[in-house]
Symmetry: C2
Subunit: 204 residues, 2 copies
């Protein structure tokens, strides 16, 4: 099987017949596309939330501590524990954004930056990606520079404690978990997947 | 340190002074909240995208193959490879939704269901969570029942191939990666985090 090529039998891309702007939602901009389902030939309206790419940072000190940020989140209406991150500004690349967000949100700078790849925020309706960076040798060098929409608290804890907080549910932001999954094993203890033929051998 | 209690010095929740409905975005409903930053005392408008909870399913056959779905996604405008999932209907619990989505999108049913916990979709502006389920003993028993907005292709591949597709970037949906991270180690080969004191020992 050739993964690089789409299978001959689809699924096919949906032709876009029309597109019109929708309301500005501050964190994103709505757009309404008129698309045709290649399976049925019928047209339908689908919303796209046009969103700038995001970045987040797994920042570690030389003592293998991770730099966390606690803040009130407007979507869930609760205080969350996350890694630093934010929106990539116009003309900024993802590394510059990662370095800026780490400094502004936590006052830390770092000596070594390693790109961890990116994920789609939600391909069903967002058009953007979140880029993950690993920052090594993080040190507190600056004052925090929270923007008017932020009220932040910084926590620097052993890296394993962050993983324990994923397990406990305290760290629950999907994009934070994606970043942590690039550098740590987040699978649950005791949740062992069956091996091929395990049933036949009576192992489960 | 007591993780259960919020630190005395905050961050504090932001008082909601007013709230008004915004446009219906099909996949979610916008709401505008007037909130007060406890750090500055200033009020500002913030958008919340009210969204039903979602569910997705890591479904494995007895041969340790995973059931994947390929479909065109309107947000990114490309064909993605994902695990089955969708929106939890009114009056439905997350298990029933997971079982329904697995059946409708892939024609599979499963003999054993294990809850893997949930994540916040994006606490910055979504109010919902995505619930992850592990389905064991998955078997093709039904025809697909795609809704008018879907054109699906099912792939059943060895579980390890799904992990390789995360590594290659073919599987890139953040919520799919969160679900897979509950049952597999997605951290990258060769990306070894520094040990405490490694610098001092000249190990890096």
């Amino acid at each position: 099987m050739n993964d690089a090529a789409a299978p001959v039998d689809g699924p096919l891309p949906w032709p876009k017949l029309d597109s019109r702007p929708g309301p500005d939602l501050m964190v994103c901009k709505a757009r309404y596309d008129e698309v045709e389902n290649p399976r049925t030939g019928r047209t339908m309206t689908r919303v796209v939330l046009e969103t700038r790419d995001w970045v987040n940072v797994v920042a570690l000190t030389r003592a293998r501590e991770i730099v966390l940020v606690r803040q009130f989140r407007f979507g869930t209406g609760r205080v969350t524990t996350e890694i630093p991150g934010g929106v990539i500004d116009t003309g900024e690349d993802s590394l510059a954004a990662a370095q800026r967000e780490l400094r502004e949100e936590t006052g830390h700078t770092a000596s070594e930056w390693i790109y961890l790849g990116s994920v789609e925020a939600n391909p069903a309706f967002h058009d953007n990606r979140c880029h993950h960076w690993l920052a090594l040798g993080a040190v507190r060098t600056h004052e925090l520079e929270p923007d008017p929409g932020e009220d932040l608290r910084v926590e620097v804890v052993p890296f394993e404690q962050a993983l324990a907080r994923v397990e406990s549910g305290e760290i629950a932001h999907s994009l934070v978990i994606c970043a942590l999954a690039r550098v740590a094993n987040l699978s649950r203890d005791g949740l062992v997947l069956p091996s091929p033929g395990a049933d036949e051998q009576g192992a489960r």
